[in-house]
């Protein structure tokens, strides 16, 4: 529950608020929890939580979101201190209002999608991207023609300039990727890595140049990798819909240029499909916390188009989340699945893993691995393996992680007695 808190101080304060003595008029039903909290002084705050999202509302002046009152209320609800009852007027009103607003937003999105965008602007952008990618292609060929050996001593400017030109060409997604390449020549084994990245970039450029010959899914993949975004409303209205019991495998936050990105990895219990839900937050704002690691939720996802659909939006939820252990696979099974996904999307650089019977292992050089029951191992990519080591004690756990060509980044583990542990 405290995983919902925006920071440690809120979690701490919530513990102090979660005392039945401070509350009056508490109650709950299937969809909401509510109560009135006595604050400092004479003020009384009305707090409500809509459990389906979850969404929070509180009359207190705190800028934190969710505030300590909402968290405290949820803590009490989790301890089963809050009793069921009919909704008082203000709660019913609020929930109604939320439903209405959601409906309005959906209609507005539909209207916006129907209106369409200015075809001339789109055409201009296509032209710019084409020119930018042609320039990138030349740049890539120059690098290989002059030899990668010079990259070891090259200044950051080499990649930064190329990235800037891509920004001008409105291929933003590629710009970040090219800028990131500057870090590679500082690491051991860099020539191979750099060649890999350059080669895949060239593959993308070539694919984009020949986009009219590509099948539809692959074309969408190429367009999104280059930086053409698909509006959310298009995904919600036209994207592939999959309803399932979605297990939350784990999440990871990364910060870049003042923007924090949260990647939440899901896997469907019935379909076995992986999904990625992204959310973004500017500094100070809190990220979407509606998907909690170690739970499963009955929901319908809308997938973004692509040859290997992965990114998705939550289109609708059916009931509250409940704790669940994801079904894991063996290492070999996971690698097969990853290879199949790569065959559809060769640029795939992250893929969610849930491994069963995973035990920590060490190679001769001291590098850490996870090894499954059959003795197959995957390298771990983490600076702080201690919690995983402590939890497993060398024994088997169910482990979820984010797989990249450089190793598995552990996200969460499930243990017989200790339950879900975020790593």
């Amino acid at each position: 529950m405290l995983g919902l808190a925006p920071d440690a101080a809120s979690a701490k304060a919530a513990g102090g608020v979660a005392k039945p003595g401070k509350w009056g008029g508490t109650g709950c039903d299937d969809e909401a929890v509510w109560g009135e909290c006595r604050g400092s002084g004479k003020s009384v705050y009305r707090t409500g939580v809509d459990l389906t999202e979850p969404a929070y509302r509180c009359t207190c002046p705190s800028r934190k979101f969710p505030c300590k009152h909402a968290l405290g209320l949820l803590l009490m609800w989790a301890d089963a201190v809050v009793e069921g009852g009919p909704r008082p007027g203000w709660v019913a009103e609020w929930v109604e209002e939320r439903r209405e607003r959601a409906g309005r937003a959906a209609r507005r999105r539909a209207a916006a999608a129907g209106r369409g965008r200015d075809p001339k602007t789109a055409e201009r952008r296509e032209q710019r991207v084409d020119d930018g990618l042609a320039e990138l292609d030349q740049w890539l060929r120059d690098q290989v023609a002059h030899g990668l050996a010079q990259a070891e001593k090259a200044p950051y400017r080499l990649w930064d300039d190329a990235a800037r030109r891509l920004v001008d060409a409105q291929a933003g997604a590629l710009a970040g990727q090219v800028r990131g390449l500057a870090a590679i020549p500082r690491r051991p084994g860099w020539p191979g890595r750099l060649l890999e990245e350059y080669a895949l970039l060239r593959l993308l450029v070539r694919a984009h140049q020949r986009r009219d010959e590509l099948p539809e899914g692959l074309r969408d993949t190429v367009r999104s990798r280059v930086g053409f975004t698909v509006p959310q409303e298009d995904v919600l209205s036209g994207g592939e819909r999959v309803r399932d019991l979605w297990c939350v495998l784990g999440s990871r936050d990364t910060a870049q240029d003042l923007l924090t990105t949260r990647r939440v990895w899901l896997r469907g219990r019935r379909t076995g499909r992986p999904a990625l839900v992204l959310s973004f937050a500017a500094p100070g704002a809190s990220l979407d916390a509606s998907l909690v690691t170690g739970t499963q939720v009955d929901a319908e996802l809308a997938f973004y188009p692509g040859a290997q659909p992965l990114r998705a939006l939550v289109a609708g939820r059916y009931g509250a989340a409940e704790p669940a252990v994801p079904g894991g696979t063996a290492v070999r099974e996971f690698l097969d699945e990853h290879a199949a996904a790569l065959a559809k999307d060769p640029w795939l650089d992250r893929w969610p893993a849930a491994l069963e019977n995973a035990r920590p292992a060490r190679a001769e050089g001291g590098g850490l691995y996870v090894i499954d029951g059959a003795g197959d191992a995957l390298p771990l990519r983490t600076g702080d393996p201690w919690r995983l080591l402590a939890l497993s004690g060398g024994g088997p756990v169910t482990l979820s992680g984010e797989w990249s060509p450089r190793g598995l980044r552990p996200l969460a583990a499930w243990h017989e007695t200790e339950g879900t542990v975020v790593l």
């Binding site: 890539l140 030899g147 350059y198 895949l200 060239r202 001769e364 003795g375 402590a390 060509p405």
Partner: protein
């Protein structure tokens, strides 16, 4: 060389200098050499990624942790530990760990990394961590050098005789202390072998271990140490000898003491009355110095009631009395300690016209000397007599120290009496600081009463006192006292600062201890 490595080499050198390798499976397309190299490399890169098979170098599974012999704490307690480690009420962490270990629990494995990291920065936490971390804790600490302190720091520190040969000073002291507790004779002989070769600070550290298993058999060794070159070693030897019953040292000191205190009996209004006549030593000599009485004992310059300092003569007297076996006095006066303490004290040769009342300064010197002796010799009867006799009103620290000599059952009540005695004075804090927790029963009641009384008095000084008292009490007072403090916090705006916090901490500890009760 694999196709991939050939491509990497070609790319490193540059296609201007070398032709790209041939890759028959790549679709043949027109284009320059650099483009061809990149296209072929893309094919190979995706193939490599997709074709990754589980690592061939066969990493070895990490050796499993030993099976735990103790159960993990209950779920609610585990959740509270997470809160404490996240920063809520961190000061209760030692108590949480101690309570968990005492009730036969261990911490959840997932909390170990955070906990061991805490212990790295805070030495005081290490013993309770070692007791509650379970076998998994040691197993984990063995894999991270930052946490090496946990290995061998528990109730059973490792290291055999080789530790004595090669260890650091602290490890050697630990080894010697352990040996003293089980085989004091062997420990002494072991130390005797290397005694002459050790440096003075080492000798002092090792000698300090003799307080464990001290017996008359150590007398000869300690007597020899009185002649040591190191000042600290000499002082330690003298202090240890003073605690040894029936030693020659004790007899020497008793002879000096009898020269200073004498029983004077006279008849006042038809009743025999005994008075203690005090005649402090007139001079300091070599022999006194050898027995650990310095020329300027500590405290000899401290101010004393009448304005002047204590002075060396009175300080020598205190030192001598502190080192004299207390049995000397029961034999001399033929009275139990309680009555001896209550005897009037006066300077020797004073005219009897002073009505036989206790002379302030002489009485204090004598009682302080006895209090130190009772503490060093762990004499419960004398400690009780000095606490109950009401003869040492100005020495709260010395009195608080005496509490530790009392048997467990009496301590709380005696401490409560003391608190009532000094109530309302700044001495209260000085006294309570020296009374270790947990404060329970009558002691807790007395503290609550003192807090309530101080809070009722207006004034800045009492406000300050209440705040500091709350701060002192929050980890030591028994949690049940929260209910008795509640009325104090419900006085609205007039509620003293700190009381609400104290109550919150006590409630937190109360819930915490309940969660840990099986």
């Amino acid at each position: 060389m694999s196709a991939w490595n050939e491509h990497v080499t070609a790319a490193l050198l540059g296609t201007e200098r070398r032709d790209p390798p041939v890759l028959p499976e790549a679709p043949a397309e027109a284009g320059d050499r650099a483009g061809r190299l990149l296209d072929q490399a893309a094919l190979l890169a995706v193939r490599r990624r997709a074709g990754l098979v589980p690592s061939g170098a066969a990493p070895e599974p990490v050796a499993p942790a030993p099976v735990e012999d103790r159960p993990v704490v209950p779920r609610a307690a585990a959740a509270r530990l997470r809160r404490i480690l996240a920063g809520e009420q961190t000061r209760v962490l030692p108590e949480w760990l101690g309570a968990a270990a005492e009730r036969g629990y261990r911490v959840p494995a997932q909390a170990l990394p955070d906990l061991l990291e805490r212990g790295r920065g805070d030495r005081a936490l290490r013993p309770p961590i070692a007791r509650a971390a379970g076998r998994r804790g040691v197993w984990l600490a063995l894999q991270n050098t930052d946490w090496a302190y946990l290995v061998g720091s528990g109730d059973d520190p490792g290291g055999g005789p080789e530790m004595w040969e090669t260890g650091t000073r602290n490890r050697r002291v630990a080894y010697l202390t352990r040996l003293r507790s089980t085989e004091p004779e062997r420990a002494r002989e072991l130390l005797r072998e290397t005694w002459a070769k050790e440096s003075a600070p080492d000798r002092a550290a090792f000698l300090a271990a003799f307080e464990h298993g001290l017996s008359p058999a150590d007398e000869e060794f300690l007597e020899a140490a009185l002649e040591d070159r190191g000042k600290d070693v000499r002082q330690l030897a003298a202090d240890l000898l003073a605690r040894l019953p029936g030693s020659a040292y004790g007899a020497r000191m008793a002879a000096r003491a009898r020269g200073c205190l004498a029983a004077e009996t006279r008849t006042v209004r038809g009743r025999r009355r005994t008075r203690i006549a005090v005649d402090p030593p007139h001079a300091h000599d070599e022999e006194m110095a050898r027995d650990g009485i310095p020329f300027h004992p500590s405290g000899s310059f401290a101010p004393r009631g009448a304005g002047g300092p204590v002075g060396t003569r009175a300080a020598w007297l205190r030192e001598i009395l502190a080192r004299t076996p207390l049995s000397t006095w029961t034999e001399l006066f033929e009275l139990p300690p309680m009555e001896i303490v209550c005897l009037p004290v006066g300077a020797a040769g004073e005219p009897s016209s002073r009505k036989g009342a206790v002379s302030e300064s002489e009485g204090r010197d004598v009682h302080i000397g006895w209090a130190r002796a009772a503490l060093a010799q762990r004499d419960g009867a004398w400690a009780r007599a000095l606490l109950k006799g009401g003869v040492m009103v100005d020495e709260p620290e010395a009195l608080a120290d005496l509490l530790s000599v009392l048997p467990d059952g009496e301590r709380d009540a005696a401490a409560a009496d003391l608190i009532r005695w000094v109530e309302g004075r700044p001495d209260l804090l000085r006294l309570l600081e020296r009374v270790p927790g947990p404060w329970a029963g009558p002691l807790a009641e007395a503290v609550v009463a003192a807090l309530t009384a101080s809070a009722a008095r207006p004034g800045r000084r009492d406000e300050h006192l209440v705040t500091r008292l709350c701060r002192l009490a929050d980890q030591r007072l028994e949690p049940a006292a929260a209910a008795r403090l509640a009325p104090l916090a419900e006085r609205g705006d007039a509620a003293p600062l700190g009381v609400a916090e104290l109550i919150a901490t006590l409630r937190f500890r109360d819930e915490m201890l309940k969660e840990l009760t099986p």
